[in-house]
Amino acid sequence: MSSIQLPAKIENMGLLVQFISDIARKIGFSGKRVKEIELATEEALVNIINYAYPDHSGDIRVTCTQDPSKAFVIKIEDTGIAFDILSLKDPDISAGISDREVGGLGVFLIRKLMDKVQYHRKNKKNILKLVVHIPTK
């Protein structure tokens, strides 16, 4: 298990993503899968950076574990306002350029790229878990 905790600022996004992708690489995920993990992670982190702490600053804590059922679990926690990222509606991906809205894509990508996504709120913390199955060789 490895953890990192940093202020929820855009300047720290790269470090947090790198922390996770370094572990993913060590686990042996393919280059393609590592990129997908980076993308899902970025989307989750950017949501926290943009919305979790409207009035004051706060941190993001990322914990990576490998569970016995052969899954890589990325736990992303913040102490910001209660926000269930999974409650957001999917964007209309069939909309044409004039109708296509600019928002809503981040969560959609997380759901599409990760094998499982879980959210719960406990002790005034938002806890998001991204689960990636580790392929058996």
Binding site: I10, K32, L39, V46, I97, S98, R100, G103
Partner: protein
């Protein structure tokens, strides 16, 4: 991320993007395109052959520019994407809103 103007053909600016378009770098992309649009450029081919990674922030920036150009009767085409980038365009449905070509040359021909 680097943004390089590689040339102009058939009245279209060929812009090469190198590196990653993410939440940190995408604003620079928008700023650069806005500057060219202010200089009355309205046809663009984005050479994405050296783009390693794109997130929703990058897609959003491209969409914002594409909408701006549409309002000006301009056009933007994307060319040369790697498979990992292409996948993000497909999942998000962006592959059907912004024209995508295999090569810069194929995109440039659209402006003839």
């Amino acid at each position: 991320m680097e943004i390089i103007k590689s040339g102009k053909e058939n009245n279209a600016l060929i812009i090469k993007i190198i590196g990653r378009m993410d939440a940190v770098t995408s604003p620079e992309f928008e700023k650069a395109l806005d500057t060219w649009i202010d200089e009355s450029e309205k046809h663009f081919v984005l050479d994405l052959s050296s783009l390693e990674y794109i997130s929703s922030a990058g897609l959003r920036s491209i969409l914002v520019i594409a909408k701006k150009l549409k309002a000006l009767n301009g056009k933007i085409f994307l060319a040369g994407m790697a498979e990992s980038v292409s996948e993000v365009f497909e999942i998000s449905g962006f592959n059907s809103i912004i024209p995508i070509h295999d090569t810069v040359q194929a995109a440039i021909r659209q402006f003839q």
